[in-house]
Point group: C2
Chain length 207, copies 2
């Protein structure tokens, strides 16, 4: 019954950060600068500091360069396999984050389409898979899909974004009906500009 029986693992927060870019769901990856898995693509992550809440670690990891303000994030799952890190025992508390298309992120990480992922280090491929499943599952019954949108957007843009997340086409009339019925958005009095088509009404997320 000595304390070395008990794990005192390091704890990282690893982020699965999604955004919709060029009509595709993408995720942020970073090329690891050091061993293990040096040169391999991995999820951005960081060790939890001494008196830091997990939520704060998540935000710090994401916003180490630019101040991104409030970013949607929710805890995904805790990965605790004893061998998931070859050095030592490291618990990973994974978070799912979503950036709007006008986010202004300028960190070192690179966007990859989720259907064209490179090989990932650690167990990060599994983490991404869990995150994608969760994101798709929650799209239909929560407002999580709005997190990808800028402050003002048209319903057509919103639909494109959802189609990118689900990777399948949606019916325009049914989509608009359900968005309105669920009161996820509020209409503004403004209209979009430009483009070879009629002006579309602009909407905002419902506060």
């Amino acid at each position: 019954m000595f304390s070395y029986e008990f794990a005192r693992p390091a704890v990282t927060v690893d982020l699965v950060t999604f955004a919709v870019r060029d009509d595709a769901l993408t995720v942020l990856l970073i090329e690891r600068p050091e061993e293990p898995f040096k040169g391999t693509w991995t999820l951005p992550g960081g060790f939890v500091h001494d008196r830091e809440p997990l939520e704060a670690t998540a935000l710090r990891v994401l916003a180490s360069k630019a101040d991104l303000g409030e970013v949607f994030r929710e805890q995904l799952f805790t990965f605790g396999d004893p061998d998931r890190d070859p050095r030592d025992r490291v618990l990973s508390v994974a978070y799912l984050a979503a950036l709007a298309s006008d986010h202004g992120y300028d960190g070192p990480a690179t966007w990859f389409r989720v259907d064209e992922l490179p090989e990932l280090g650690f167990d990060h491929r599994k983490i991404v898979d869990v995150a994608v499943e969760r994101l798709r599952g929650k799209l239909s019954y929560t407002g999580i899909g709005l997190e990808f949108m800028p402050a003002e957007f048209t319903l057509g843009e919103l639909q494109k974004s959802w189609e990118a997340v689900l990777d399948k086409p949606l019916d325009k009339r049914n989509f608009r009906k359900s968005i309105v019925a669920r009161e996820l958005v509020v209409a503004t009095s403004r209209k979009s500009r430009g483009g070879a088509h009629p002006r579309a009404r602009l909407y905002r997320r419902r506060v």
Copy 2:
């Protein structure tokens, strides 16, 4: 940038173990034998051992006395507030478990109805609340409700169990229709015995 900036927390697995007893949803609690919160009711939990997967810790905590065999359990959430344990930083990876009514559990813990909980130590009240919410939410669209049933059971018993979890009455005909339609159970050729009423067909969980 020295290592003491980084947390090396102890990690516990705390279990929210449900069962249905006397037509009520109940949860296992243990009276803490030591400080902090000595004498207060808390969730059963234990520190994660050096090379032990989290799932294994969960099972060990639950089955420290009797061998319970396979017990339903799923990871619930990780609670990481720096002040949640007054001694030191302790991460709690909470699990939700469900015991069948013929479980044979004989550990030191005591069953409490979830609508009559005593004051709980640490942040365990919050953990229980999250677990109850998750259990109720999953009842409608998964087979989690069957985990409370013994090997063979009648549809009437199953309905009573669901009503206990949801804390509200269900319509008998609609309940039976949906159970059959979802193919959650398979009929056996056997019938119940005893009781001042006709014999009921016995069912099993669908494998």
